[in-house]
Amino acid sequence: MTGPTTSSTTAPPTAPPRADEREPVVVLWRRHTWSVRFLRRAALVNLALLAAAAVLGVVALTFGDYGISAGQVVAALRGHADDPLAAYFVTDVRLPRVLGALLVGVALGISGSLFQTISGNPLGSPDVVGFTTGSATGALVAIILVGASPAGVAAGSVVGGVATAAVIYALAWRGGVSGMRLVLVGVGIGAALHAVNALLVVRAPLGAAQTAAQWQAGSLNGVTWRDLAWLAGLLVVVAPVLVLLFRGLTTLSFGDDLATELGVQVGHVRLGAVAAGVALVALATAVTGPIAFVALAAPHVVRRLHGTTTPALTGSALTGAVLVLVSDMLAQRLLAPTQLAVGVVTAALGGVYLVALLAFEWRKRTP
């Protein structure tokens, strides 16, 4: 999904190109009138992110009370561990958590990138627009009012997220959905649902309130192989949809008139992207509880790393994965032996990032 999008012309022979004017596109393969092209910098950044995720993943597998070296981890992953206990800890206990962090990060990163693209607004992330809050409402209803099992809580979370999205979309509808209206309606609905969530917890019996508070912190503790299968399955279903939508999505930043004029079916693209984004964030939230700021921050971070304006779904996915994994490693180590919830760490990191963004980056732009 890395943008095969830009074009280039050869620089005039008189002026040698400056460093930032270097050929930004790499043609990987050309045959007849076909070619496969990549943005050089975006491709390199994505490869680096992928490598970082792999290395950090192995490091994360060494974390825990039972000491296992990185070498043993790799051996265990390949199925040749000498120590059966190490093999058990790596593949049955720690691997689901690490894969969970990566997959949830991928889902949140893609979801954030989709919503920022269709809303045309850097704040148009599912955290801000109320989808995550809606998922939480669904889960809290399941925990507190129904007393549901973990599976029931997950189902409640998905239903809550999807229902919230449907309500926001319907309220923002006026012969089509504009990005700005989607954000504003979403912020309003999100605020209302926050109040509902608080009320639910306050009125709950102590035990349920504790479970609810734990769930709301967002944690990778309880991730099982079955959760991973759900997440992976959803990503497999969503990926081809995103491949189909991607080129249309890149035109939305030009405004609806220009996108329509170019032959993009703006309404279909937006609806498809909302559906994919909601499904991803709802299922991620169902598995771990709300993990704040990743969906908001990942697209920003990757846009700065890539130095492009096209929506970078692959880059956001990889950035999200690295962010959640690193946050979870910090959550386990920061106050060890006390284990923090990953959502607490992402919220703290994300808060700092957002403040830095507001203080330095946006101040430069709007004098």
Partner: protein
């Protein structure tokens, strides 16, 4: 088949409760530079946007090459008809070449993302609009006139026989207005059908090969500027009393407003 590549027939268009166009019929003539003028809120931009199918039509028809425009697949229509909207917004940081390349969207598909034909069309469009040397520059660093030529290059990359320009000269100084209109005029002479909505009557009358005058949501006059423009028409449409004299440079009609007594 009809000689007109783009027609509006009894077009009714509005926003919500307000009807802006109430039964407008217009034939866009092939190979002409048609300029639409009229006072603010007369419906000229609405007409252009409805012709380009970015506004839903409440009644009547838009025909593209004789066929109902809605019967075309969106990309198919976009290969025959391009619209440059008013004041388009470029995503932050985008380069000229990247922006112009987006014009190739209707010629591409999932399995045909970037072909040699795409590259050639972009290079041609950059050259035609005189912005080839700016290709690597970020659009936001350009002057207003350069930026408008870059946008026109994007619609040129779309490689359509018909080009609609919605107020392409608004907010530009006189030198940049001339730049843009010279480009539009050259495109027409090279065989394209161009339609532009303009505000400046003097330049409109000078560059138009065909003029459409709109007032209150309908077309009140149509034809070659020299045949159409009279003091009475200008007073009726713009509520300005004036003399109409030949432009000493081009011989086209020139409106000289009278001083209010």
């Amino acid at each position: 088949m009809t000689a007109s590549p783009l027609q509006a027939v009894d077009l009714v268009v509005g926003y919500g409760e307000t009807t802006v166009l109430d039964g407008v019929s217009v034939d866009v003539l092939a190979g002409e530079l048609t300029v639409i003028v009229g006072p603010n809120a007369c419906g000229k931009s609405t007409l252009l946007r409805a012709l380009a199918r970015v506004l839903p039509v409440q009644g009547g028809h838009v025909r593209l090459d004789g066929r109902e425009i809605g019967e075309y697949a969106p990309k198919q229509a976009a290969r025959r008809l391009a619209l440059l909207p008013q004041q388009p917004a470029a995503p932050e940081g985008i380069t000229v070449a990247d922006l112009v390349a987006r014009g190739r969207y209707p010629h591409q598909s999932l399995l045909r993302q970037w072909s040699v034909a795409d590259q050639e069309a972009v290079d041609e469009a950059l050259a035609a609009a005189g912005v080839a040397e700016l290709a690597r520059r970020p659009v936001e660093h350009l002057s207003g006139g350069q930026r408008q030529r870059v946008w026109i290059a994007m619609t040129l990359a779309q490689a359509t026989p018909v080009l609609l320009l919605d107020e392409p000269t608004t907010y530009l100084d006189i030198a940049h207005q001339l730049e843009v209109l010279e480009l539009a005029s050259r495109l027409q002479r090279e065989g394209r059908t161009v339609v532009a909505v303009l505000h400046d009557l003097h330049l409109a009358f000078r560059y138009a090969t065909h003029l459409i005058v709109m007032h209150g949501g309908s077309v009140v006059a149509e034809g070659a500027p020299a045949d159409v423009v009279t003091p009475e028409l200008v007073e009726r449409v713009f509520s300005v009393r004036c003399r109409v004299v030949p432009d000493p440079e081009s011989g086209t009609p020139m409106v000289i407003p009278l001083r209010s007594a």
